[in-house]
Each structure stands twice: as structure tokens, then as C-alpha cells.
């Protein structure tokens, strides 16, 4: 067991979630004493986590193995108590995909915290504000933990930290529709976590370990075993476990048959939280863990079940893309439309995963990053519109573009990116996905991507057109631009959308493609 890792980066991995959880518990205490120090503390912690994850990403890119490992817990002098020599204790392993996600989580987390300075006053009842920040930090800590977990059970603990805090955050405004939405969210979320625990149990029984990397070695041994070997029957446990994991993560990622909760829960939350839910939680607890288990742990690209699952994922992703887009077209509320659009975009990400090629997976990773940025941007813009005007319906947004030029300009940039207008980042990831579908020998799938882009254009450009050229239905003459703390995060995200689109080759070649290669090794 090598634990000869440099001090800085390895401890940073565990320090990010630990400091976040500790300061989450400090926030209500500080609010009792002097609430003025609450915001600086939260901003400081999220900014520190962001800088830490930049450091981790750089160290992971530079490291020869492609990952950073950290052992938590007593090591019995480096001697293992198990026959196989595997370590006992909690292992954290940050690979390239995990490091990318960690940076994304903490970057967007910092910007959303900055945005919450003003929006939380408006959307969260006065007495609940300390708990809003506590839950926000816990959610970010849980997601950071998922990104760095190397252990089949500790990812589950972090998964539940992220899930439970997001359940509570959806209902924090106390409005009746948010209560209903939360109940739906909790029931589906609880079902998915039960399926995942069951999957962990079967995996543990089949492999005798919880460490993801030892488990993947055992699984490779079991699935390649001879029909007469004693290991052979365990493959049925492996299949059952894989099925349970896929079902559990598909519910969390809102793929087609189980997407209903997302369209209720995401619009019902405060806008800053909608941005985090749509931008990060769906990806971390859903598609990231699906990629992690399907490739890193179960290794379906190594042959067994690979083709079956590929076809299954393709069918689910196509239905998700088309149905999400169609549902989005008929929505009248802006935030509900954005939530359905999230469902469609999750289909895109699954599309790249289903190709099981390095380029397809790199396209998925790029789309995870792009969609996280763009969808946070759009939800934050919707939050500004709500904050200033209380407009929920798209048809009421007439001429809003002239009253709030910066907000609507950022919204338009985001809309162009999701539709796939060339210099924006959304075009780049769709391009990578389309070319990888052609490379994988399935050019007819590009038609699906094109149809979906067309549908995206229908519902996004409708909003843009109404906000610039529509007739105002309600009095908006007194409306002015949002306060700076809300506008700055939105503008940063909008600039990032363009930068990531223009300079896409650097993140693609430095991070996305190597991360995909590492997963498919």
C-alpha cells in the first residue's frame, strides 16, 4: 500500500468536504451571535474550496498515474489485515473526471453563494436564512465528497448528504407547491438510494470489498471466469448489482421513465438552488456516478454486457432528449421550461456515454461542464427576473430585454449555447458528440441531435423573441437592472460560456479526452 503522496494535495482532498461540513455547522452559531459575519464566512469557505480544487485539478493533470490517492483511517503500520492485502479504511481517489467535477462544483458553488447574498433575502423566509447557508454548504460538501470518493460506501454517505440537503433546500421557501414537489422528490430520491444500497450489498457479497478499484479487479476476475470455476455463479450477483446501480442513478439523473420529479422539484426551489440542482446535483449524483460505476467499477467496456447496455442507454437517451424537448415547448413558466430542458440535456450526456468510445465519453464530460455552466446561468437569470419583477410566465416577459439589458443579454448567450450556435460552448460539445457518433459507425444518430437542436431553438428563441420584441403585458416601466452581487456571477458565467466555446481545445485535450481515456482503460 503506497501512501507516499505529497502532503499538500492529498490532504486537500479530504479537507474540502471536512471544512465545508464544519463551517456548515458553525453558520447557525455565528448567526445567533453576530449575523454580519455569516456571509463572509460562507464566501471565504467556498472561495477556499474553489482554490483548493484548482490545485487538485492541476496536480491530477500533472501526476503520472492520473489520480491522487488518500487513505483516511488507521493503517496498522501499513500491514493489511486482509488476505488479499487490500487496505482497510476509507480511500479517497481523485481521478481526472473527479477533479474536473470538483472544480465545477466549487466554482459554481462560489458564484451561487455570491448570488445568494441578495436573492436569499427575497426568496427565503427571514428565520430560515442561517439554515439556508448551512444546507448550501452541506450540499456542496456532499457533492465534493462524491467527486473524490474511492469507496463504494463512502460515496453513498456523501450522496445522502447531498440528497438530504437538497430535499430540504427545495422546500425552504415554504410555499405549498414547493412542499408537494419536495415530497415527490423525497419519495423518488429515497427509492433510488435504496436501490443503490441494495446494489452495494450485492457488490460487497460478490467481491468481498468496498474499495472501488479492488472491486473492479474482482469483477474482472469473476466475469472472465470459466463456467466450472467456483467464481462463476457470482457473475449473476454482479449483473443484479449493476442493474440496481443503473436504475438508482437513472432516477437521480432524471432519465426518461423517472424524470417527473425533476420538472416539479427544480422550479419549486429558490432560483439559486435551482441553479445548483440543475447545474450540479443531477450531474454529480446521477450521471457522474453512473459513469463511475459503469466504467471504473464494472468495466463494461471490457466486453461483458457492453453492447446490451450501449443499446439500452442509446434508447433511453434518445427518448429522454426528444420527450424533454417536447415537454419544454408546451411549458408556460420560465423555470419549468428550463427544468424540462435540463432533462433533455441529461439525455445528451447519456448519449455520449452510450457510445462507449473515448470520444463519445469526452463529449459527455465536455457537455457535463458546459451544461452545468449554462444551466446555472439561465436559472440565475430567471432568478433575477423573479427578484425584480415577480414574472413567472414567459408571455409576461414582453420588452424585458430593454429594461434589464445585461440580464437578458446573458440569458440570450445561454440560450444560444444550449441551441448550439457556433462560438458558444454548447455547440462544441454537441459537435464532439455528433462526430463521435459518426466515428462509432452510427451516423443516423446525428439526426436525433439535429432534431433536438431544432426543438431547443423553438422554445429558447421564443423566450428571447418575446423579451425583446413582444408587447409588455404588465407594467415594467419601473423595473431596473439587478443589484451587482446578483449580476456579477451571471456575467462571469456568460463570459465563461463564450471562453469555453472559443478556447474549447484546451480543456478538451488537457482534461476531457484524457479523463475519458482513463475511464475506458
Amino acid at each position: 500500500m503506497d501512501s507516499s503522496i505529497g502532503i499538500g494535495a492529498s490532504h486537500l482532498q479530504i479537507l474540502i468536504p471536512v471544512i465545508m461540513i464544519a463551517s456548515a455547522l458553525l453558520v447557525p452559531l455565528i448567526s445567533r451571535g453576530n449575523p454580519r459575519y455569516r456571509l463572509p464566512l460562507v464566501l471565504l469557505v467556498t472561495a477556499a474550496a474553489f482554490l483548493g480544487s484548482v490545485d487538485i485539478l492541476v496536480k491530477v493533470i500533472l501526476s503520472p498515474t492520473g489520480y491522487l490517492e488518500y487513505m483516511a483511517g488507521y493503517q496498522w503500520g501499513g500491514k493489511s489485515l486482509l488476505r488479499t492485502g487490500q487496505p482497510i479504511g476509507i480511500v479517497l481517489r481523485t481521478d481526472l473526471l473527479g477533479a474536473i467535477l470538483l472544480l465545477l462544483i466549487n466554482g459554481i458553488g462560489f458564484l451561487v453563494t455570491l448570488y445568494s447574498c441578495r436573492s436569499a433575502h427575497h426568496e427565503v423566509p427571514e428565520g430560515k436564512q442561517p439554515y439556508y447557508y448551512t444546507l448550501l454548504l452541506l450540499m456542496l460538501a456532499g457533492m465534493s465528497g462524491i467527486a473524490i470518493a474511492g469507496d463504494c460506501f463512502n460515496f453513498y454517505v456523501f450522496f445522502e448528504i447531498a440528497s438530504i440537503s437538497s430535499y430540504t433546500l427545495v422546500s425552504i421557501s415554504g410555499r405549498p407547491e414547493s412542499l408537494e414537489a419536495t415530497f415527490k422528490y423525497i419519495l423518488t430520491g429515497a427509492l433510488s438510494s435504496i436501490l443503490i444500497v441494495f446494489g452495494i450489498g450485492l457488490l460487497f457479497n460478490a467481491t468481498g470489498t468496498l474499495n472501488m478499484y479492488y472491486a473492479s479487479q474482482q469483477i474482472a476476475k469473476i466475469v472472465s471466469s470459466h463456467p466450472e470455476s467456483p467464481l462463476f455463479p457470482y457473475r449473476y450477483l454482479i449483473y443484479a448489482s449493476l442493474g440496481l446501480f443503473i436504475m438508482g442513478f437513472s432516477i437521480k439523473a432524471a432519465f426518461f421513465p423517472s424524470h417527473a420529479w425533476l420538472a416539479d422539484a427544480h422550479p419549486a426551489a429558490p432560483s439559486s438552488i435551482s441553479a445548483l440542482l440543475s447545474g450540479l446535483v443531477v450531474k454529480t449524483t446521477g450521471i457522474f456516478l453512473l459513469i463511475r460505476f459503469v466504467f471504473t467499477v464494472f468495466g463494461i467496456h471490457k466486453g461483458y454486457l457492453g453492447e446490451v447496455l450501449s443499446v439500452l442507454f442509446l434508447i433511453i437517451s434518445i427518448i429522454t432528449i426528444i420527450s424533454g424537448s417536447l415537454f419544454a415547448i408546451v411549458q408556460t413558466q420560465l423555470k419549468r421550461m428550463l427544468a424540462y430542458s435540463t432533462i433533455a440535456q441529461m439525455g445528451y450526456i447519456l448519449f455520449g456515454v452510450a457510445l462507449v468510445t473515448p470520444y463519445g465519453l469526452a463529449g459527455s464530460i465536455l457537455h457535463i461542464v458546459n451544461h452545468a455552466i449554462v444551466k446555472s446561468l439561465m436559472f440565475l437569470c430567471a432568478g433575477i427576473i423573479l427578484h425584480k419583477t415577480d414574472i413567472r410566465d414567459i408571455t409576461d416577459m414582453g420588452r424585458l430585454g430593454y429594461r434589464m439589458p445585461a440580464t437578458m443579454a446573458c440569458f440570450t448567450i445561454g440560450a444560444c449555447s444550449l441551441v448550439g450556435v457556433p462560438p458558444m460552448c454548447g455547440f462544441m460539445s454537441k459537435w464532439v458528440l455528433a462526430t463521435s457518433a459518426i466515428q462509432a459507425g452510427m451516423p443516423y444518430l446525428v439526426i436525433i441531435l439535429l432534431i433536438s437542436s431544432l426543438l431547443n431553438a423553438v422554445y429558447y428563441f421564443r423566450v428571447v423573441a418575446i423579451s425583446y420584441f413582444g408587447n409588455p403585458k404588465i407594467e415594467i416601466d419601473t423595473v431596473d437592472e439587478a443589484p451587482k452581487t446578483m449580476l456579477v456571477p451571471v456575467c462571469i458565467l456568460a463570459v465563461l460560456v463564450i471562453i469555453l466555446g472559443v478556447l474549447v481545445k484546451y480543456p478538451y485535450h488537457a482534461a476531457a479526452l484524457p479523463a475519458a481515456r482513463l475511464l475506458l482503460r
Binding site: Y156, E160, E180, I186, A190, G201
Partner: protein
Amino acid sequence: MLIETVLSRIDYIVTVILFCIGLYALIIKPNLIKKLIGMNVIETSVYLFFIASADVRLGPASWQWAGPSEIADAAQAARVAAGQVALVNPIPSALILTAIVVSISVTAISLALSIKIYEHYGTLDTRKIMRLKG
């Protein structure tokens, strides 16, 4: 023969039965509290599965744990080698303790939420509450 097989795996069979009962309650029952009970029954079935699988005699759940030669106490090692000791794998029990804590938190939140829903709507029947269209 069949009865023996069934009896030796009775805990796994109970797991499956409990899981199905819980899933039925979670999906079909309109009352929110009954849905929560269903959720808890499913969780219990999974815990039962973990605890049952920790028993070494029924299966090689812990086939990677230290063998007789690695146990320091010679008499104990002989008993283990002769199969007289029922080892219990401690890991699943530890996991289940954590999972129980998680499920308690989820149940607590959902009960608090159902109080709020009852205060607002005066009923816990989902057919009357759920006005959101999926």
C-alpha cells in the same frame, strides 16, 4: 430438498417479500404516511439482506477475511479451521448502522413535510393534493 433449500435461504426470501410489500405501498397507496411506511419497509428489507449476508456459514461473504493460519490464538485457529466458529463479518453491520441513520433523517424530513402539507391542505391523500402535473 426444496424445503431445505428454501429454509436455508429464508432470510433472503423474506428480504424479497418485504421489498415487494414496501414497493407496493410506496407506489400504490395514496396516503402520504402509508407511502413513508412503505419506504421504511423497503429500507428494512435491504438491512435484513445485509445482516443476513454477513453470516459466514451461509455463503462466502467474507471469503477474503483472514484464514485460520493468520489467527494468533492457536486454539481459536483450530476451531475456525474445523468450522466450529460462526464468524460474522463486521463490515455489513457497520454499514447498516450508517444506512439506518440516513433513513432516519429522510423519514424525519418527510414526516415534517407531511405535517406542513396537512396544515395547508387539510388532507394527506395524494389524489387530492397532487395538483402538479408530472
